[in-house]
């Protein structure tokens, strides 16, 4: 996400945003390189969590995530997985879509950037998983617009990571593989750098594979051992289990065994999970890592041994099981030198710098690919002259360099046909039924004998990965453009939604730290029993008392003390 900010010298200041499943980050192109912008709590990572307080104010970030186990019905996380769908997300009785909730996160990040740069931020470039579909991309773009940002460009996450990685020394590099396993999505890109051209050769991915799935594995183990009644009936327990699983998974990255602790009906349930047990249970997930890797290598016509290196990105690649799997796959150790959580945001900032033509980036060019095939449904004639419908005719083959534009010519099937319907699909299967439908266009044609009328279908895929379809009948000059009816929102409604979002009261920034601390203490109160619960309760009561005095100095002092105590109680904190 590039934020065009008019700086002091009259130049554009550039900012990039990584809108992740678990965490988001914002960065800008600073003096000679990309730099991250901290949020109001001083962290560079902001959890992608949104919570609605009882008084109707919106909390974003760590405070919201800490509130999740306590107020599961008023809090949303991991909503990136739902983006592009109309599935409602309930926040305290109000239904939101995933793009609206994402917009709230973007809004908060925008506020952080504005405060940091001291200028208004109006336009942006957002990163998306490379394997995001057209629909998910459009939804992400709309989320940016709802947050009041002009989305200049969408960048693929592994591409952004490769940019951040390649920009550091600007040397030529043989093809290398970016292995991006984030909170909710998995992407693989093969990238080559020569003469300042950063070229993505191929991308592949799995939109439903990430750290969250590994958490589910741990929840599964615990559910079986502790007989937890997980289900729709106990949303609170489910969220607690998820948080506990996250904690266990992170502990397993450091140690050979970790405990899974959860408080249920005022009873502490605990079980120890070893790294080996985890690896066995996660084997199906690890197996799913192979397919995209293989596909990207085959599409770029490369073999594992000709890859220069394997670059790990994304928080979930911290897991030893994932690193082990990668090591086995390539028979060598991956490169984990770049920061898995920061690389994508930094790369986005680089892209933003490119976008606004910074002099120090003049010698850099980036080309990306579209990771899936796009085409239309056609009928084909077999050897006996019979017609078979439902066949997929790709127009843009996958891993075509962007921007790309291709025209294919089709003809009518029936005599005296009055109109032709073009259904646009994305996917790799021969039958359209197995692919994803993106939309349809209908065009009138002059009545003629079968096969006499030609129709040109042009697919244009821009650098942000957004598709435009133009259908032309050369004979009549009739043209049509793709309309995705079920997703497109009419302008009036879009305006209304934006207004509704704007009306939501954003929690005051200067109270963000206090809010986060209260949320954390409340979570601790729920997560512990016995003495520690009592301590958390005492601390909470104490802090609320201090807050009422409205004495800035005393609040800061109490906050520091309580943070220290909670740290001691909880062990290490994580983001």
């Amino acid at each position: 996400m590039a934020l065009f900010v008019r700086g002091r010298g009259g130049t554009f200041v550039i900012v990039g945003i990584d809108l992740g499943t678990t965490n988001s980050a914002i960065a800008r192109w600073g003096e000679g390189g990309p730099e991250l912008i901290p949020n109001s709590l001083g962290d560079v990572l902001t959890p992608s969590a949104v919570s609605l307080t009882e008084d109707g104010a919106v909390l974003v970030g760590r405070a919201a995530r800490d509130r999740q186990p306590v107020y599961p019905d008023r809090t949303a996380t991991a909503f990136k997985r739902l983006i592009g769908t109309q599935k409602p997300i309930q926040l305290g009785g109000t239904a939101f879509t995933a793009e609206e909730v994402s917009a709230l996160v973007l809004k908060s990040l925008k506020a952080d950037a504005e405060r940091h740069c001291g200028e208004e931020v109006t336009s942006a470039v957002i990163t998306v998983p490379a394997y995001f579909s057209d629909r998910q991309r459009k939804a992400t773009r709309r989320a940016g617009e709802l947050a009041g940002l002009k989305v200049e460009r969408l960048v693929n996450e592994p591409t952004a990571a490769a940019l951040a990685y390649g920009i550091a020394d600007r040397e030529d590099r043989d093809p290398f593989l970016v292995f991006d396993l984030g909170g909710g999505t998995f992407d693989v890109s093969i990238v080559e750098i020569f003469d300042g051209v950063i070229e993505v050769r191929a991308s592949a991915g799995d939109n439903r594979l990430g750290g969250e799935d590994f958490n589910e594995v741990i929840v599964g183990i615990a559910k079986e051992r502790l007989r937890l009644p997980l289900g729709a009936a106990h949303p609170k327990l489910r969220e607690q289990a998820r948080a506990a699983a996250e904690r266990t998974r992170r502990a397993l990255s450091e140690a050979e065994a970790a405990t899974f602790d959860i408080v249920w009906q005022d009873e502490l349930l605990s079980t120890t999970i070893t790294a080996e047990q985890f690896e066995t249970a996660a084997a199906p997930l690890l197996d799913r890592l192979r397919e995209p890797v293989l596909r990207a290598m085959r599409d770029s016509n490369l073999r594992a041994e000709t890859l220069r290196e394997i670059v790990l990105v994304g928080g979930a690649t911290r897991m030893p099981v994932v690193r082990k799997a990668v090591t086995r796959m390539f028979a060598r150790f991956p490169n984990a030198s770049i920061h898995p959580d920061h690389a994508i945001a930094l790369g986005a900032a680089v892209q933003a710098g490119l976008r606004e033509r910074r002099a120090d980036l003049d010698e850099i060019r980036l080309t990306d690919v579209c990771p899936f095939s796009l085409g239309i449904e056609v009928m084909t004639r077999d050897a006996h002259g019979r017609l078979h419908g439902g066949r997929f005719a790709p127009i843009l083959e996958r891993n075509t360099v962007l921007p790309a534009s291709r025209v294919h010519r089709f003809q009518t099937v029936h005599a005296q046909q009055r109109k032709v319907q073009f259904e646009i699909y994305q996917g790799e299967a021969r039958l359209v039924a197995a692919n994803i439908k993106l939309g349809e266009v209908e065009i009138p044609v002059p009545p003629r004998a079968a096969g006499e009328v030609m129709i040109d279908c042009r697919f244009t895929y821009d650098v942000s990965g957004l598709l435009e379809v133009d259908v032309i009948v050369p004979e009549t000059g009739e043209t049509r453009q793709l309309v995705i009816a079920d997703q497109e929102v009419d302008p009036g409604e879009a305006e209304a939604r934006r207004a509704a979002l704007a009306e939501l009261k954003i929690h005051p920034r200067d109270q963000a730290a206090s809010q986060a601390l209260i949320a954390r203490a409340e979570r601790c109160y729920e997560a512990f029993i016995g003495d520690r619960r009592a301590t958390a309760g005492d601390l909470l009561a104490h802090f609320e008392g201090v807050l009422e005095t409205q004495d800035g100095h005393a609040i800061a002092e109490a906050a520091a003390m309580i943070t220290r105590k909670l740290d001691a109680m909880e062990g290490e904190r994580y983001l």
Binding site: R153, F194, D195, G196, V197, R290, E291, V293, L294, R295, M297, R298, D299, N301, R303, A304, E305, K324, A325, T327, R328, M329, F330, A331, R332, F333, R355, R357, D362, E363, R365, T367, S373, A383, F392, P394, E397, R398, V401, L402, P403, A404, S405, G427, E428, A429, R430, L431, A434, T460, D462, V463
Partner: protein, 618 residues
């Protein structure tokens, strides 16, 4: 269209780096975002120039290094026609010369195999339909498995030697005609290769994938049993790869479908199935064959056509000699003079233009009426056996269909499965025998090889030889097993007694025949079931079979048992003694033996068991 070299502003070159440099230089002068058309033109010029440059560079040495998944990229390049054309020819519906090794190994190959059984015999393979030569791929795969360095420090349990041995063995199993073929062994090898931890390595996995694609394509139909497992393992049927599926993989998937077609045809469409059976059997001979082929040819023609269009790979499992014979016959009948040619073509068109069953009904009503009167009679006279196969389905062995119907003496485990099924009532399989009783398995394998040598009398006769030999081995095994297992001994004794009583009820002579080991008359189902259970138990004791044949031994019985037996048989001492030597009236011989077993059986003590062991054991 302007030349890519003009667009790039460089002279034609074979140097990829020069092309890349020129592209990079020009790319920096433009902004792809704001000038997509300009970028498109540049990119297309770059792609084209890269293709030309790579071809140029590859031309001096051979361009055939492209592997399975490089094939389609090569096919786009015009000059890679050699391998590309071959690759495209493969899935064409009509395969004139199916890639199939001759059924009988050449003498040289057999000799070579006997001389050095361990070394894989290089069977001269027919021209590969799809890919680069198999030898290279296999060698590359093996070399890779052996040479690939394990990553330092990573605790990977890699035993490359084991996998490459298994690959070598698998290749020998599929391609060499001399060694014993067994799908159980094949699947064990496949599992060994796929279960190797080294498969986690992508490079190795890809080599193995190529190895399998290669071995399956060339090994049809022997390689059929591994199809499902390998397709499933490598996700060859995943829709996500459908658009870029290599030709070899498409061919293999086609084969997998065709194989089910072959299996299902047994039950679905008997007319097609009958035609298929004709094509699998040796060609018909003599005048009766010619007459029969006159009636059957249109249907066979239709079947062949259907196979060629929809199930091209199924052509490989036909008897090639027979296939050629039928093709010749069909051609001859097409070309035959008036009125035969016209008649034939009319019938043929009729069958082709309608759905096959309707055509069948029509031709039946047209042909059956005159034929029913005289034709069938004459026909049966000419060829009674074949007429039986035309008019009725012969009962097939009740065995779960696991793979292609295998002709006898192709697959040792398949044949032994069938034989053991008969003797054990479906309880025993060749795989189990191999595990629980390796000595027996070895013995049966030898019997199989011996029976295979008698095939000149016809596979059915040879199979009967195998059945009889196996029966002898199993009965002998039971005799040996009862000397070790008392429970089995008692059950066997009870069964033997019931058997004798049943035979005696028919006639005393029949009982004596049973005593001397012959099978006469009918045996009730319960006894047969009990017998197969006894054989199964005997096999499962792990008793090795005896070498040589079964001889009746002598025995001595304690006097008290003799007394008891005499009373039970209602015989006096003299008659009883003669009856024991199988002399005297048949009734006495029977009763004496039944009485003796009875007497020994009721005692259930050491002396009784010893006697039974002597009576029944070997």
């Amino acid at each position: 269209m302007t030349s890519p070299w003009e667009t790039l502003g460089i002279p034609p070159t074979g140097d990829v780096r020069t092309v890349r440099k020129a592209y990079a230089r020009l790319l920096k002068t433009m902004d792809p975002d704001s000038d997509p058309e300009g970028f498109n033109a540049l990119r297309q010029a770059h792609d084209r120039a890269m293709q030309l440059a790579e071809l140029h560079a590859a031309a001096p040495d051979e361009a055939s290094s492209a592997g399975m998944f490089g094939a389609d990229e090569d096919a786009q390049a015009p000059a890679a026609a050699a391998s590309g054309a071959q690759a495209e020819a493969a899935p064409a519906p009509i395969v004139p010369e199916p890639p199939r090794a001759p059924l009988e190994p050449s003498e040289a190959a057999v000799r070579a195999a006997r001389n050095d059984a361990a070394a894989p015999v290089t069977v001269p393979l027919p021209s590969p339909p799809v890919m680069t030569p198999s030898e290279d791929a296999i060698r590359a795969a093996m070399d890779d498995a052996v040479d690939h360095p394990a990553p330092a420090g990573a605790s990977l349990d890699r035993r490359p030697g084991a996998a490459s041995d298994a690959m070598r063995a698998l290749r020998a199993l599929v391609f060499d005609r001399a060694p014993l073929f067994s799908h159980v062994k094949m699947m064990a090898l496949v599992e060994q290769i796929l279960g190797d931890p080294a498969m986690q390595n992508l490079e190795h996995a890809e080599q193995v994938e190529r190895f399998f694609a290669d071995i399956i394509v060339h090994g049809v139909p022997r390689s059929d049993p591994m199809l499902d497992r390998v397709i499933g393992y490598f996700h060859w049927d995943a829709p996500a790869l459908e658009l870029r599926r290599p030709d070899a993989v498409s061919w293999i998937l086609q084969r997998a479908q065709d194989r089910y077609f072959e299996v299902e045809q047994r039950v679905q469409d008997s007319r097609i199935h009958r035609c298929l059976r004709r094509l699998r059997e040796p060609p018909l001979k003599g005048l009766s064959g010619r007459i029969e082929s006159w009636f059957a040819a249109p249907h066979v023609e239709r079947t062949i056509l259907q196979l060629q269009v929809y199930h091209p790979t199924a052509l490989h499992s036909l008897n090639q000699e027979s296939y050629a014979w039928w093709m010749r016959r069909i051609q001859q009948q097409h070309d035959a003079g008036f009125p035969f040619g016209v008649l034939y073509r009319t019938r043929s068109d009729e069958i082709r233009s309608k759905r096959i069953y309707r055509a069948a009904m029509k031709s039946l009503s047209l042909l059956a009426v005159p034929l029913l009167v005289g034709g069938v009679y004459l026909y049966a006279l000419f060829h009674p056996l074949r007429s039986a196969s035309l008019t009725g389905e012969q009962p097939t062995v009740l065995r779960p269909v696991a793979a292609t119907p295998v002709p006898p003496f192709e697959d040792v485990d398949h044949d032994l499965d069938m034989v053991l099924y008969q003797y054990s009532g479906g309880d025993l399989t060749a795989a189990e025998v191999r595990n629980v009783n390796p000595a027996l398995y070895a013995r049966l394998t030898r019997e199989w090889t011996a029976a295979k040598g008698q095939q000149q009398a016809g596979p059915a006769v040879a199979f009967q030889v195998l059945m009889t030999a196996t029966g002898g081995v199993l009965r002998d095994l039971l005799g040996r097993a009862v000397t070790r297992d008392d429970a089995l001994l008692l059950d066997y004794a009870g069964h033997y007694e019931s058997r004798l009583r049943w035979a005696e009820r028919a006639s005393p002579e029949e009982c004596v025949a049973v005593l001397s080991g012959q099978t006469v008359g009918t045996t009730p189902t319960q006894l047969l079931v009990a017998w197969s259970r006894l054989l199964t138990r005997a096999v499962r004791t792990g008793t090795p079979p005896a070498e040589g044949t079964w001889k009746a031994g002598t025995f001595t019985a304690p006097p008290d048992i003799i007394e008891d037996a005499m009373q039970r048989a209602h015989l006096d001492r003299a008659v009883f003694a003669r009856a024991m030597q199988r002399k005297g009236p048949a009734m006495g011989v029977c009763n004496a033996r039944i009485g003796l077993i009875d007497a020994a059986l009721v005692r259930r003590d050491k002396a009784g068991l010893t006697l039974l062991r002597a009576l029944l054991g070997s």
